[in-house]
């Protein structure tokens, strides 16, 4: 196990290096000039200003020395500076990340609480009405564009029956989010519905798989009741894929939910990335990408470890 973890961590470092190289190359290869993006199109008439800008921020150097400079800063915990928002990338992420954590974190937790019992019920009442009904539900929410779902929720619960605000909480920091939690209800529901659709499908198949295992027959033969078999044996084993799924959704919690954040104008990580992508704000884009990649790598490592802990048959 220890050897496995060491190997995985080494692999993770390689993967992260590749991600930074790739993102860096992509951002440099694509047209778009940060100087013009910040000083406005008028800067074309003032090449001297562009030159000063490029020299100040190191854009006059070849791309590999720019990369090495950026990387050495990264190792020291400096993600760079957003000229566009006149703020360091770290402090920007510090502002936006908690917002995404709240939105996606609460939705994911809510989805888990609902999807697990739902999946169990569907599996036990397999091919009955309940199963078909929720199957249809999860297929539709999976297939529906997430912005359509968000807008329908706004139409019904903010315009037709005005019980919730149409816009998510605004303002700096987390305080306004919790003061005005009412406004976060629709975004959370919107995201949770999509996640429930995904998780309940997993849970359903996982429970069904476990129901045919030998240990279920053994437990029944020893006189355990249906309920006991289901809760003490099947449910525990069926949670294993869900643990994996949670590990794999860690990057989503960090990256935020771009579309949902855009629909409800919630200033999280996804919206930040989207807005800065249109302004060629490289340091922000790079910083977020690296952070999300880190979350992906850590998440899948955690998922593997959880798998080994939960299922004693698994050996690495």
């Amino acid at each position: 196990m220890a050897l496995f973890i060491v190997r995985r961590v080494l692999q993770a470092i390689v993967v992260l290096l590749l991600v930074t190289m790739f993102t860096f190359a992509l951002l440099r290869a694509i047209p778009g000039n940060p100087a013009i993006a910040i000083m406005g199109p008028g800067a074309y008439r003032n090449p001297a200003a562009i030159k000063v800008f490029d020299q100040t921020y190191g854009f006059d150097k070849p791309w590999y020395s720019q990369y090495l400079l950026w990387l050495s800063n990264l190792v020291r915990g400096n993600l760079g500076y957003s000229w566009n928002l006149n703020q360091s990338v770290i402090s920007l992420i510090g502002q936006r990340l908690p917002k995404s954590l709240v939105l996606v974190g609460i939705s994911t937790a809510l989805a888990l609480v609902i999807a697990i019992p739902l999946g169990v019920v569907q599996a036990v009442r397999r091919n009955k009405f309940v199963d078909h009904f929720f199957n249809g539900f999860s297929t539709i929410f999976y297939a529906m564009p997430s912005f359509l779902l968000g807008l329908l929720l706004i139409l019904v619960f903010a315009i037709k029956i005005p019980i919730f605000p149409a816009e998510a909480p605004q303002g700096e920091g987390l305080a306004p989010v919790f003061q005005n939690f009412n406004a976060l209800v629709l975004p959370i529901i919107s995201l949770a519905l999509i996640t429930i659709a995904l998780f309940s499908r997993y849970m359903r198949s996982s429970v069904m798989d476990n129901l045919t295992e030998d240990y279920v027959r053994t437990a029944k033969a020893k006189g355990a009741s249906e309920r006991r078999v289901l809760i003490r044996h099947v449910l525990r084993n069926s949670m294993i894929p869900i643990a994996t799924l949670l590990g794999l959704s860690l990057p989503f919690i960090i990256s935020g939910a771009l579309i949902t954040e855009q629909v409800f104008n919630y200033p999280g990580m996804g919206l930040l990335f989207y807005q800065q992508a249109q302004k060629s704000d490289y340091p922000v884009l790079l910083g977020i990408t690296v952070l999300v990649a880190l979350a992906t790598v850590v998440g899948s490592l955690l998922a593997d470890i959880a798998y080994a802990v939960l299922d004693p048959r698994v050996r690495y």
Binding site: Q11, V14, V15, L16, L18, V19, F22, T23, L26, L27, I30, P31, G32, A123, R126, T139, I140, Y142, A143, M144, P145, S146, F147, L148, L151, I154, L155, I159, I194, T195, L198, Y202, R204, S205, S206, M208, D209, T212, P241, L245, L248, S249, P251, F252, S255, L258, I259, Q262, F273, Y274, A277, Q278, S280, L285, I288, T289, V292, A293, T296, V297
Partner: protein, 331 residues
């Protein structure tokens, strides 16, 4: 979140359904020979060869009613989008404010949009874009992914390690982020959109095919070919890739659904294909601007098309997966 997050080997209960079905058909095959012999003897039937793995897979697929419905829906949609415009002519390009946002009625079965264009006709032309981009991008992703994955899996060792770390790195960047960066800086035409979506979606395919290749390369027939002097490229193109075809097809199906969903998301962010061309996503996102005016015909048709097509593709994919599982069991 997309289907890409779901590991292909995720236990699906319907697989057991199909195993059950095949048990039944086993019984049938046991009973069959006598009847068949009698039929052959009577000259009614030609002597039949044993059924191929493909036939058995096909039977399981056809048993799955949802999958068959899915195929029907997709065929109907293709006919609607590509053959429909030959029979139904409506204004799809000229701005005509005299006939703006008309409700469904005579002359315009699904009404008109804010530019006075006919919604039904527009639904057909937008559908062409959605389906073309979805299918083409999925095929591109599959071709790249299959080559990458089978080369990595077959040759193994250091090459495999390097190739798969690149895949891991790619998978660590959210697809929507990648698409956003590329599309916000180049003008998206249909071709570019296909290329971009295809080139960010091949990673899962590569990982899947590599897994298959790892198990296929130690099979006897591959070893035998090597002994006879066959090279690596022959092994990959003649043995590894064709034998992973089941997994590849299932993945391809889900890729189409994902690609359609990606352009919908991009169109919503204003980064989709440029007007006057548009996909269903662009139609839907311009329609939802009028959500509070009660112009439901600008939202419902496009929204329904997206949901129906993606659902149908999912059903087909799940049916195919069952069929492939059966094939694998019998291998």
């Amino acid at each position: 979140m997309t289907y890409q997050g779901i590991p292909p080997e995720s236990p699906d209960p319907s697989i057991r359904d199909s195993a059950f079905v095949s048990e039944i058909s086993d019984v049938a095959t046991v009973a069959e020979p006598r009847e068949a012999e009698a039929a052959v003897a009577a000259g009614m039937l030609p002597a039949t060869k044993p059924r191929s793995a493909f036939r058995r897979g096909l039977e399981v697929f056809l048993e799955n009613r949802l999958a068959v419905v899915g195929v029907g829906v997709i065929v109907a949609m293709l006919v609607f989008c590509f053959v429909g415009p030959l029979f139904y002519h409506g204004n799809t390009t000229v701005v005509d404010f005299a006939h703006q946002t008309l409700p469904p009625g005579a002359g315009h079965p699904l009404g008109t949009d804010a530019n006075g264009n006919d919604v039904l006709a527009r639904l057909m032309t937008s559908g062409q874009i959605s389906l073309e981009v979805g299918i083409a991008a999925a095929i591109l992703a599959t071709v790249v992914g299959v080559i990458w994955g089978s080369v990595a899996g077959y040759f193994g060792g250091a090459l495999d390690a390097v190739m798969m770390r690149i895949v891991d790195a790619g998978l660590s960047i959210p697809v929507l982020f990648l698409l956003l960066v590329v599309v916000s800086l180049v003008t998206p035409t249909e071709g570019i959109l296909i290329a971009v979506i295809g080139l960010v979606s091949w990673l899962t395919t590569a990982r899947l095919v590599r897994g298959e290749a790892l198990s296929l390369r130690v099979r006897e027939y591959v070893q035998a070919m090597k002994v006879m002097g066959g090279g690596g490229s022959r092994a990959v193109s003649r043995h590894i890739a064709p034998n992973a075809i089941g997994t590849i097809m299932v993945n391809l199906t889900f890729q189409v659904a994902d690609a359609i969903a990606f352009i919908v998301a991009l169109s919503y962010l204003g980064l989709g294909i440029r007007p006057p061309q548009e996909d269903w996503g662009a139609m839907l996102s311009s329609g939802v601007q009028y959500v509070s005016d009660g112009y439901w015909w600008l939202i419902l048709p496009a929204g329904a098309c997206i949901v129906i097509v993606i659902t149908a593709i999912l059903w087909i994919g799940e049916g195919l997966r069952d069929a492939v599982e059966v094939r694998l069991q019998r291998r």
